[in-house]
Symmetry: C2
Subunit: 713 residues, 2 copies
């Protein structure tokens, strides 16, 4: 790639960015776009629907200022600790690439450029030079200038490790602080018990009662046994959908009074029909609820609540039974976070499901490229012409053929990458996780490795998937192979950051899909007053994306330091845009308490070790034997540092320590509201499908609350 090509790409994309920023500032001010760009503020009522008509069309940058302004504490209040962790991932990357950028641009880049160079620089026309003159490939074998790179690697590793340590500690403390400042919540007092052994005759409920009264007498409070409710749930869902439909079709009473005829003339389904079907469904639901609630139909799992957080933690941590596969305990999720469908798994089922899913993910990750490459193969012109003969004329046009051969393959790859997060989420959901946040965490992890493998390694070792596998099976050769392949792709990844990276953030800002959906909906049914659906941040989609650019930056910082300013710009964009989205768009649906950080930490460590492996290979290739041997301890120390961090901080993320729990319990002891809380706690984990429902004859609007008050019509 030539400097001129890069400059053009940067120019085009910068213009696009500015253009879209301006466009966004206009679009978001249009009232009909509030649902897409400002749903949170709309729901909170802080957005004024009506506005000065002229001001609406004047572009402004005030939104940037507005999203810059809120402090971390405010962000914490509005988006929870998970939002803070996500933003800290970005600021962390900013700090890293500011430091690495200074070293890279002011030290390594000049060295690469003017050191023992291989390629002659064309001083007359800079833009005609290849990008390779800025990369380490430009240095001769055994060049003393390579010691600069050596020093930079040690320096940046040390800097990142320090930063990782302090960040991990900070987030751990935030987590504790968050717990301290939280109100008493049901999941703090509750654990989930699985695989309750079947004692002959007695019901699951009796078993639980007996076991916990016997073994945790002083702290046990109550329990809720879980039922297999998928059938009932499907009927409830159908009823809810139908009710929504009926409600939508039925205009509100005032309107009916004014235009009584229009209602019947426009819709040919009479109101009575809905009423009848709903009544029938309601009856079915009641029957189903009675059936699943009958003894013997229970799942061998229960939510067990305790009188104190300490009591809950005690039961959680202690092995319960002589047979360790019985009475398995795990922390309970927040009640609205529970993923009800997958409660039926026994110990063995859950374990086997996990193994199968892990294998499936591995296969998907490793073999994903094969179908994509096949489909991409179709985009070469002769193949296309063969399959669609009528296209011959169009394809013979130069610009069309250029677009097809140039953009289509990468478009196919990018589009197919977009479907990966939902697939991984689905796979995680059938793995036996009990709550949505766990599913998302697990999916996030899968997507991270998927992205690293399928974007980084697949590009680096471009060839068949099996040849990539053979690299793994020959561990000795990995560093050298990496050192050959990775620098060769430097210009590709620089372009990748500028194009895919920057546009990714713009797509996020514009919320392209919801924007289009809302536009289509509005044009089809302009007056439809849908209830507002505030989306939740999909961490499993965005975290891997951001982390991947971190990986690119870390691995390429000494190979091709030219990538650093673009990465830095990417993170600046991401910082502004994600803050904006947190404030205006996404609402937290549940709280993992910063559980995404360890994943981020491990990915950073992986990036570091990868970078070091490449460095070792590179120094070996450049015949710098001493430097090669001196670099070998670096990954060892990095891994030891990681192990230390794991020992030092991970326990805070897996469970709250006794110290914290007893402190909170002491504070609650004299709180008069606790009696009321305990009453609520007893029923907090009722399956929503088993709660009494009433649709027919109701006109209650709040469909999100499943318990509808009795016939008010």
């Amino acid at each position: 790639m030539l400097v001129s090509a890069l400059l053009m790409s940067v120019g085009i994309n910068s213009c696009l960015c500015v253009l879209f920023f301006i466009l966004y500032s206009v679009l978001r001010k249009q009232p009909h776009n509030y649902e897409v760009f400002l749903p949170r503020r709309l729901a909170a009522g802080t957005s004024k629907r009506r506005r000065n008509k002229v001001a609406r069309y004047i572009p402004s940058v005030r939104w940037i200022w507005k999203s810059w302004r809120p402090s971390e504490k405010e962000l914490m209040e509005s988006s929870g600790l998970d939002g803070v962790v996500f933003m800290r991932m970005i600021t962390f990357s900013l700090k890293v690439f500011l430091f690495a950028g200074i070293i890279g641009i002011f030290v390594i880049l000049p060295v690469n450029c003017f050191g023992d160079q291989i390629i002659q620089i064309d001083y007359a026309d800079w833009s005609a030079n290849s990008l390779d003159i800025f990369s380490v490939a430009n240095l001769k074998i055994n060049s003393p200038w390579l010691w600069v790179h050596f020093g930079a690697i040690y320096l940046v590793t040390a800097y990142i490790c320090c930063l990782l340590y302090f960040e991990f500690r900070y987030i751990g403390l935030k987590r504790i602080e968050h717990f301290h400042s939280s109100k008493p919540q049901p999941h703090q007092f509750t654990i989930l018990v699985r695989n309750i052994p079947s004692s002959d005759g007695s019901s699951v409920s009796d078993s639980v009662d007996r076991f916990f009264t016997e073994n945790h007498f002083s702290t046990y409070l109550s329990h809720v046994v879980i039922h297999r409710t998928s059938k009932v749930r499907s009927i409830v869902d159908r009823a809810k959908k139908l009710y929504k439909q009926a409600k939508r079709k039925k205009p509100d009473p005032h309107q009916v009074k004014r235009t009584p005829m229009r209602f019947f003339s426009r819709k040919d389904t009479p109101e009575g029909h809905y009423e009848k079907v709903l009544q029938e469904l309601e009856h079915n639901i009641r029957l189903g609820q009675a059936e699943v609630s009958s003894p013997g139909k229970e799942v061998r799992a229960a939510f067990v609540s305790f009188k104190s957080r300490y009591g809950g933690a005690m039961a959680l941590h202690m092995p319960q039974s002589i047979n360790p596969t019985y009475w398995l305990t795990e922390p309970a999720p927040e009640p609205h976070d529970v993923h009800w469908p997958f409660f039926s798994a026994s110990f063995m089922q859950k374990w086997l499901a996990k193994i199968v899913i892990v294998f499936a993910c591995l296969l998907l990750t490793i073999l994903f490229l094969i179908p994509v490459v096949l489909v991409q193969g179709l985009t070469n012109l002769p193949a296309l012409e063969f399959v669609f003969p009528f296209l011959t004329l169009i394809l013979s046009m130069k610009i069309v053929s250029q677009i097809i051969t140039g953009y289509l393959p990468s478009l196919i790859l990018q589009t197919s990458l977009k479907i990966v997060p939902p697939i991984m989420e689905f796979l995680s959901s059938i793995q036996g996780h009990i709550c949505h946040s766990e599913i998302q965490k697990s999916a996030c992890n899968k997507v991270i490795w998927f992205t690293i493998w399928n974007v980084f390694f697949a590009t680096v070792f471009s060839g068949s998937a099996f040849s990539k596998l053979s690299v793994i099976l020959d561990p000795k050769e990995i560093p050298v192979k990496l050192a050959v392949a990775v620098p060769a792709q430097a210009s590709f990844f620089i372009a990748y950051v500028v194009t895919t990276g920057w546009t990714d953030t713009l797509t996020e800002l514009f919320r392209v899909v919801p924007f289009m959906v809302s536009y289509v909906k509005r044009s089809l049914e302009p007056s439809d007053d849908n209830e507002l659906d505030i989306p939740a941040m999909r961490y499993h989609r965005d975290t891997p994306r951001v982390l991947f650019f971190g990986l690119l930056g870390i691995t390429y910082f000494f190979l091709a330091p030219l990538i650093l300013p673009f990465i830095l710009l990417y993170f600046c964009l991401a910082y502004i845009i994600y803050r904006n989205q947190f404030i205006n768009v996404y609402e937290p649906k549940y709280e993992t308490g910063g559980m995404f950080w360890p994943m981020i930490h491990y990915t950073m460590i992986f990036s570091l070790v990868l970078m070091q492996a490449i460095a070792i290979g590179l120094f070996a290739l450049k015949k710098m034997e001493l430097a090669t041997y001196l670099l070998v301890p670096l990954p060892v120390f990095t891994l030891l540092f990681n192990e230390f961090c794991r020992k030092r901080f991970m326990p805070i993320f897996t469970a709250y320590p006794a110290e914290v729990l007893t402190k909170r319990d002491r504070e609650d002891r004299h709180d008069p509201r606790m009696a009321e809380f305990y009453d609520k706690l007893v029923t907090a984990y009722q399956d929503p499908a088993l709660l009494p429902l009433r649709f027919s004859g109701s006109r209650n609007d709040s469909l999100t609350s499943p318990l509808l008050s009795s016939n008010e019509v």
Copy 2:
């Protein structure tokens, strides 16, 4: 190796076995050997010192019957669960090799011999045949008879896995049973807390008190802070030694009365000298004790005792502090099992020590052979003649040169292997374990891998240590390389079992070193009445040895089934001999509660997977593609089975479940003796070096009890 050579070796070694059995039966009846062969019975007083003079010299096999007879329950009572686990390892191997032996001898051996053979059998003179005719090497490429081996591999794997499952379950239940039947013991109520944070001003003792009263109010009983007592301990040890010496030199009062002159005439050190030195030491000890007991001199660790087992377990399992490196809890060992010297390690020190030791062990394991091979190199005749020219005459004799070249190298290897268990024990002891049993467990683990690497792999891949390392770095090639190398060493390992295996058990029976030591002592000081020192079983020395023969049997059962009868015989010998030793020689010093079993289980699984890897390589070499692919799932399933066992049984071995603890606590609740037990519990974990001692002027015999009653002379 020819059949005749094997027959000769078997003949010689069988005769040796019978001879030594007879010799042993005579030697053990000699009263002056009681201390070597029957110390337990001597201590228990069940051995009659005086006997019919003639019967003493008549060989008998009654001892075999006697060691055969005791039931497992009796063994449990006399040697603890660890003894039972050791014996069950042997019976487990017996079961495995009985089954594998039947298949091997009656199915695989005939197939190897008469199938598609490569080597022509010399029917006229069987003994002139090579042993290879019995091995799988005798089958042609792509021979259909290989499917018999295929079936046998699946069958034996399934059988061993079943057996492993039931054995793990059985030992887990035994462990629980053992806990149920035990009296209340201090270590059940106590945990060790490390890394107590230093809060400004207050002593460690106060910190512990405050922390546990705050966080475990309902169950906390008391604590003992640990002091750095290595200095005092060394003085105490010196004093004890001196006291012993003085006591030995001072004849008992009756004797003094009879021959008052002899005492002073024989020994020129007057009694008063000892008395004076002892008094001085006592003074020093008291000073030292006062010094280390003073505040500020404590180690930041303490034994914390609780009112119930449940309370102890609760504090053990729960994470304690916001900083997870503080207030680290671990189960307390039995008070007499505590390894006092290594209490000073902080979290970081302990962790780093562990890493360093693991590296050291790895290095020792991998590079051990280099010095041994160098020393062995000296045993070739020209080298010897060059170093010791005066030996030329002796070395020119044929028999001497044969012995030197034939036996000396293997003798050097065997002798240097003997020093490995103590080295590993030493390394484990500086790793930061808190008790002797942990040290032994950790050493056992190290010795197992050491033996497998340095005897199995070193023999199989005879060559330099570095070429062995390169095998690991090329994982794809491992099965094929194994399949080439392992069968080639079949006759060596058959001979190894017959020679080293059988003689190992005889060495154990004869306790060669203690026997020689006692003989030398007796001849130097015939009348010396040493106090009886009952040895403890060195599990870290014997378990790996027995397990290694299991590994040999499992890996070779289909390659060279001829090994099986000899292995079976080895285990029969081991069964009789170790039972005999448990009954007559070894006394348990502490109880790990069957913690050696998981190690045995994992080694068996390793042997299985190794066998399967060899099989895969072999089938690939024999060009049986279908069989090769069909074998690949086998190691995967074996590892999954292992993972299942780990999940299913390991929790029982790491901690006792709540169910069991509360049951024992309930039983104790109304026991009137508990008050007395609690009194003892408070001081159970006093450092013995800090207990008041009095030597001077005492004539008390029981030196093992450090608290000697006041001057009784």
